[in-house]
């Protein structure tokens, strides 16, 4: 439901996401994961070989395996050396991911974890807010983007596995994380710190655009024009049924702050914080009974609309591009 050219979903690979890095800030995690997996298999091979000798080997080999020297080497020296090297190398490798790399020229976005969705505030170079969105982050490819990560209520953790490691979002603190996508695509994220009931349904979407597409996307951030037809009826219902108490739609009287900003909800790729496809059908289903889809989320089920009213509301929200 986006006006831009379709962007490939970047989930085509058979690899698990942590082994399928899509940018420089997730690459060290992928490298480390491969080394640990491979090392683990090599050590498993050694243990199986030792076990085979212990069970079926000649008495002479068995005696050597059971000797004091083998215990000192295999049981003490080997783990100490391997784990020390791994620790030092791992710390060195991942130190490149810390905020030391921040140059100050990055595009900046503040992402605030809420129970159970994400506020997304785009910032200018002086850290002033330019506009607000929710549950979806748009970035240009090939350049680092600096995220100021905060939490409004409890601890959350921001994790888009193909773009960066995890970073906790802690109430009262701002943690910084750099992300970068090297190819256009849609990258999925997930809250990675248990934050109550529907934590597992707290998803996120990062959309990486080619630079010219990103400029076009930025230019199109003006609120959608006034609704027509059925959508206009939906707009009236939105204002009169209490929706506006929690949701903002810029360019309309709706200015609630408790729930996600819906100014551009029709152009988002997902609904309910990265969990459902976004179309008029899922919009109607969400409005009427979001509690069936994301039990415990803070939006009540709205059972008072008749069929036409529900469709009018879905039309209105789908038209907020």
């Amino acid at each position: 439901m986006s006006p831009e050219a379709p962007i490939p979903a970047s989930t085509a690979s058979w690899l698990p996401v942590i082994l399928d890095s899509a940018g420089p800030f997730s690459q060290p995690v992928t490298t480390l994961a491969w080394v640990i997996f491979t090392g683990g298999f090599v050590i498993l091979g050694i243990v199986i070989a030792a076990l085979t000798i212990a069970l079926f080997g000649s008495p002479r080999l068995k005696a050597r395996l059971g000797g004091e020297k083998a215990i000192w080497i295999g049981g003490f020296a080997f783990p100490v050396v391997v784990l020390t090297i791994l620790l030092i190398w791992g710390l060195w490798l991942t130190s490149h991911l810390s905020a030391q790399r921040i140059t100050g020229d990055e595009m900046r976005v503040r992402v605030i974890g809420e129970m159970w969705w994400w506020r997304v505030h785009y910032l200018d170079e002086n850290g002033r807010e330019t506009f607000r969105d929710a549950n979806e982050l748009h970035i240009p490819v090939g350049q680092p983007v600096l995220l100021d990560l905060q939490a409004a209520d409890v601890i959350h953790s921001f994790w888009v596995p193909r773009l960066a490691g995890k970073m906790d979002m802690i109430p009262g603190r701002t943690n910084r994380l750099l992300i970068q996508a090297d190819a256009p695509g849609v990258y999925h994220g997930q809250c990675a710190e248990y934050c109550g009931g529907p934590h597992a349904l707290m998803g996120f979407v990062v959309v990486a655009h080619a630079p010219e597409d990103f400029a076009r996307w930025q230019a199109a951030r003006a609120p959608a024009p006034a609704a027509q037809g059925s959508a206009a009826r939906g707009a009236d219902l939105f204002m009169s049924s209490g929706c506006a108490a929690c949701h903002t739609i810029r360019g309309s009287p709706a200015d609630g702050l408790a729930g996600p900003d819906l100014t551009h909800v029709g152009s988002r790729r997902s609904l309910g914080a990265g969990i459902l496809p976004n179309n008029k059908g899922t919009l109607a289903g969400w409005i009427a009974d979001s509690q069936a889809l994301k039990p415990g989320n803070r939006m009540p089920a709205y059972h008072q609309f008749d069929g036409e009213e529900l469709r009018a509301l879905a039309d209105y929200l789908a038209s907020r591009q």
């Binding site: 969990i275 059908g281 899922t282 009427a288 036409e308």
Partner: protein, 123 residues
């Protein structure tokens, strides 16, 4: 004589599973699979409880378990493939008061979803 009879029986039974019929079943299975994929992609589960799809499992619309055995679509229209294919794309055009919005999909997807719904036989 007997031999001719045996050959005749074999020929008849081979003819029974004629290539056209096999072909037809394969095409059907492929569109059922495509229909299921389209149902997942579009998120029909936001309103309907769908057999074989664990989540989402909405309650706004009716459960679609055993849909092939259901006489009516939306309690108003006969459950025929041609009507169903129109209904899944543009329900309000057929049932004006329905809460089910028109859903953006191709005609092929509507046919595939119809094939999938017709495969939900729990008789």
């Amino acid at each position: 004589m007997l031999r001719t009879g045996v050959i005749g029986v074999i020929a008849i039974s081979l003819n029974a599973c004629s290539p056209t019929e096999l072909q037809h079943e394969r095409v059907d299975a492929a569109s059922v699979r495509k229909g299921r994929e389209a149902v997942e992609r579009l998120g029909c589960g936001a309103c309907h409880d769908l057999p074989g799809i664990a989540w989402p499992s909405g309650r706004v619309g009716p459960s679609l378990h055993g849909f092939a055995n259901r006489a009516m679509i939306a309690g108003q229209l006969p459950n025929r493939p041609d009507i169903l294919a129109r209904f899944v794309r543009d329900a309000p055009a057929l049932v004006p008061g329905t809460a089910m919005p028109e859903i953006e999909m191709t005609l092929e997807e509507a046919d595939a979803i119809t094939a999938w719904l017709q495969s939900l036989d729990e008789s």
